[in-house]
């Protein structure tokens, strides 16, 4: 099957390894991957900040980009949630009935973990990652999409991976998009507690399905010289034995 991959604007600009990992992983599982050339951003940063008019041109661009694909895969619970639940609002705001119809007719969008478990029906993706790992279930994947234990099952099936539970896992890390800069003190207070829980696990790697939350928690851990690395779920699932040195592949060890 052919899917359109939306790397997300954040992964495109700052975390290309996460999006490349999705390409490698899906190809390894026999999926034909294409990247819609026009696509840029789902518009969530504008929508969640209250700038609906500013989100309209992004929605038009997004819909034109994804038209015709069988399915869309996004390595982000937050972006998938926004596309699934908020695009309708933006279209209604535009007052353009054609845009409302286009949202209704847009191809189905899946977060990576949903696509793997529900569409491809795989849990063991054949990955190898010999490290101790803890997992932060990001709020939008958990509560907006309801991915449940899909990411956990995918990770626990990875060969060599040593799993540790994250205390208070379901509590928000404090990123929250523009919340992180509009309310930086509160955001940092929340993130510091999340970083403390990550360190309590003794894990070497913190994994999550949203690069935005990882940028926040990882930024705090890095500033504290905590010695904990953050990785996107896709990077761990793309890791296989002996591929560490190949360009563009997320290697199992560094």
């Amino acid at each position: 099957m052919t899917v359109g991959l939306l790397p997300t604007c954040l992964n495109d600009a700052l975390f290309p390894e996460a999006a490349k990992a999705v390409v490698h992983l899906l190809r390894r599982l026999g999926v034909v991957v294409d990247v819609p050339g026009r696509q840029t951003c789902c518009g969530q940063p504008m929508i969640n900040s209250g700038y609906l008019d500013e989100a309209v041109p992004l929605l038009r661009n997004h819909l034109a980009a994804v038209a015709g694909y069988e399915a869309i895969v996004v390595p982000s619970g937050s972006c998938a949630g926004s596309i699934r639940h908020q695009h309708r609002l933006v279209a209604q705001r535009s007052g353009d009935p054609a845009l409302v119809r286009a949202v209704e007719q847009a191809p189905p969008v899946h977060d990576l973990s949903e696509f793997l478990v529900d569409v491809l029906d795989v849990v063991d993706v054949g990955a190898y990652f010999p490290h101790s790992v803890t997992y932060h279930p990001t709020c939008h994947s958990l509560r907006v999409l309801g991915v449940g234990d899909r990411p956990t099952r995918l990770l626990q099936a990875v060969r060599g991976l040593r799993w540790t539970d994250l205390p208070a896992a379901e509590e928000c890390c404090g990123f929250g998009g523009t919340f992180a800069v509009k309310n930086p003190d509160t955001s940092i207070a929340m993130g510091s507690d999340k970083a403390r829980h990550v360190q309590e696990t003794g894990a070497e790697v913190l994994v999550a399905g949203d690069s935005s939350c990882l940028m926040h928690i990882g930024g705090l851990l890095g500033r504290q010289r905590a010695g904990v690395r953050v990785m996107h779920l896709a990077e761990v699932l793309a890791s296989t034995e002996g591929l560490a040195s190949t360009e563009g592949r997320a290697g199992p060890a560094r």
């Binding site: 790397p7 604007c9 992964n11 495109d12 600009a13 700052l14 975390f15 290309p16 490349k20 390409v23 990247v35 050339g37 840029t40 951003c41 518009g43 940063p45 504008m46 969640n48 209250g50 700038y51 609906l52 500013e54 989100a55 041109p57 992004l58 661009n61 709020c139 939008h140 509560r143 379901e170 509590e171 928000c172 404090g174 929250g176 998009g177 523009t178 919340f179 992180a180 800069v181 509009k182 309310n183 930086p184 003190d185 509160t186 940092i188 207070a189 929340m190 993130g191 510091s192 990882g218 930024g219 705090l220 890095g222 500033r223 905590a226 904990v228 690395r229 953050v230 360009e247 563009g248």
Partner: protein
């Protein structure tokens, strides 16, 4: 009675101060996690919890759709039962009605059942200004009142205080307004509660007028309901000759049977109990038994404005349980005072701007942004108020209210981002620029994050809000899209 929310700084400023209060942080973390755990346990044991949530939401929505009909039905039933019904458009009207009734009875004091509605309209201050003392009789409200403090939680207004602080307040303040606390008072909960009982008892026995709110008002039977834990409400509702109840118009339920749903969901969601210790229900006057004059003030005070908002009206389902406060990671760290209202936390962040209007007051306009949109509040809400949805809706209203005015830095950033991201060519150009900048910066011997990624340290404003405590990853030399065009598309 000088403590007031008027003139409070905006949420980010107030939160900054609260976050630095180590005592507050410990008190709140302890209290909210205790109630959260209790709630989770008693909710888990109800198999039909989700059905109860849906039933509660549906009942409330249906009532709100026909509010005009049910309100008149309630008035008729109450009047038939011997009560006097008053209608108040706003806080001033409601306060004036209560003051007039109290004056009519020549009293200089009233005892009060814990009531969010009376806190909302500032009734105590209005009574005080008329020379009438209002004695709070709920333990937590008493602590707040004695300490000349502000409430910080809907259910437990003194949640920001610990036992040691409460002991000091009792020792210092009780003697100024009545029976003093025992000189050898310790901070043992039993002793604190006993001191409050003794202090309040003389007020219960002396007062001739009581003021309450109501958790529910049943239109069919003209019944008001108060749900409580301490029994102070029962004392106020039964001992004085005159009872005045101020009821928000959203408290209505059509029929007696509808109480069934809420008397299951409210205690479990609020105190984490299967059933609350005291449920008082009354309809009008019973000759020779209880208050012989019963007044009911039906209050709007912005509620019809909320009702007019098709997205936001779901907030009128709220039964003031506080589950959203207790689960909220923002509330847990910033406390209730940061929200600048008697309604703090997630529900306050949507109720206050809707009841008082957006686009006029920076403090109110900042409230919809006082959330990371994590959604935990929606999950625990017993009447399924989609608080994140309403928060985003209100952010839109705040932005729209400011359109046409001088643009803020945020407006400019959003417009620029919208212009750039609406075109893949413009987006590619900007990521290429970032990549170039990164290559220049990387010559300066940057630190590496675990995993080998180079990072930037503290940056000047406006990036300081991010980089003050978090490393910033250096943009990669090649974006994903550049890689895709160069190698990715044809790889393998």
């Amino acid at each position: 009675m000088s403590a007031t929310f008027v003139g409070m700084p905006t949420f980010p400023v107030a939160a900054g101060t609260a976050l630095a209060d180590s005592q507050l942080r410990r008190n709140l973390a302890h209290a909210t996690s205790t109630i959260r755990t209790k709630r989770a346990e008693v909710v888990r044991e109800v198999d039909a919890w989700e059905q109860l949530r849906v039933a509660g939401a549906t009942l409330k929505d249906r009532t709100l759709r026909h509010l005009d009909v049910y309100l008149e039905q309630l008035e008729t039933a109450l009047t038939a039962a011997g009560a006097t019904v008053h209608w108040a458009r706003d806080a001033d009207e409601a306060n004036r009605i209560v003051v007039d009734i109290a004056r009519l009875h020549g009293t200089d004091e009233v005892v009060k059942v814990k009531s969010m509605t009376t806190a909302e309209i500032g009734l105590n201050d209005a009574l005080e200004a008329a020379g009438i003392h209002a004695w709070e009789t709920d333990l937590a409200e008493l602590i707040v009142q004695l300490g000349d403090d502000l409430p910080s939680h809907i259910l437990v207004p003194a949640i920001h205080r610990n036992r040691a602080e409460i002991r000091e307040i009792f020792l210092r303040e009780m003697e100024r307004v009545g029976r003093p606390a025992p000189a050898d008072l310790t901070d043992a909960p039993l002793e604190l509660a006993a001191a409050a009982r003794d202090h309040l008892r003389e007020k219960f026995l002396r007062a001739r007028v009581a003021v309450s709110g109501a958790n529910f008002a049943v239109a069919e039977t003209g019944t008001l309901a108060v749900v409580e834990s301490e029994g102070n409400g029962r004392m106020c509702l039964t001992l004085p000759e005159v009872l005045i109840s101020i009821v928000g118009i959203e408290k209505l339920l059509p029929t007696w049977a509808d109480l069934d749903v809420f008397l299951q969901t409210l205690p479990r969601s609020s105190t984490g109990e299967r059933m609350n210790p005291y449920t008082s229900l009354w309809s009008g006057v019973t000759p020779g038994d209880g208050p012989q004059q019963v007044h009911v003030v039906l209050l709007d005070n912005g509620r019809t404005d909320v009702l007019a908002d098709t997205v936001g009206r779901q907030a009128l389902r709220c039964i003031r349980c506080s589950a959203c406060l207790n689960i909220c990671p923002v509330y847990e760290r910033t406390g209730g005072h940061s929200y600048g209202s008697v309604y703090p936390g997630p529900i306050g962040a949507i109720l206050n701007p809707m009841m008082r209007g957006v686009g006029q007051d920076a403090q109110l306009d900042a409230l919809p942004y006082a959330s990371s949109l994590c959604g935990a509040c929606f999950d625990v809400c017993p009447v399924r108020i989609d608080i994140p949805e309403v928060l985003v809706h209100l952010r839109t209203k705040v932005v729209d209210a400011h359109r046409g005015r001088r643009p803020t830095p945020q407006d400019l950033v959003m417009r620029a981002a919208s212009w750039t991201l609406a075109s893949s060519a413009r987006t590619a150009r900007s990521t290429r620029l970032a990549g170039l900048a990164a290559r220049v910066l990387s010559r300066r011997g940057l630190r590496s994050a675990p995993g080998g990624r180079r990072v930037l340290g503290a940056l000047p404003r406006p990036a300081a809000g991010w980089s003050g405590a978090r490393d910033v990853p250096l943009p990669p030399a090649e974006s994903f899209r550049s890689w895709w065009s160069r190698a990715g598309r044809d790889a393998r």
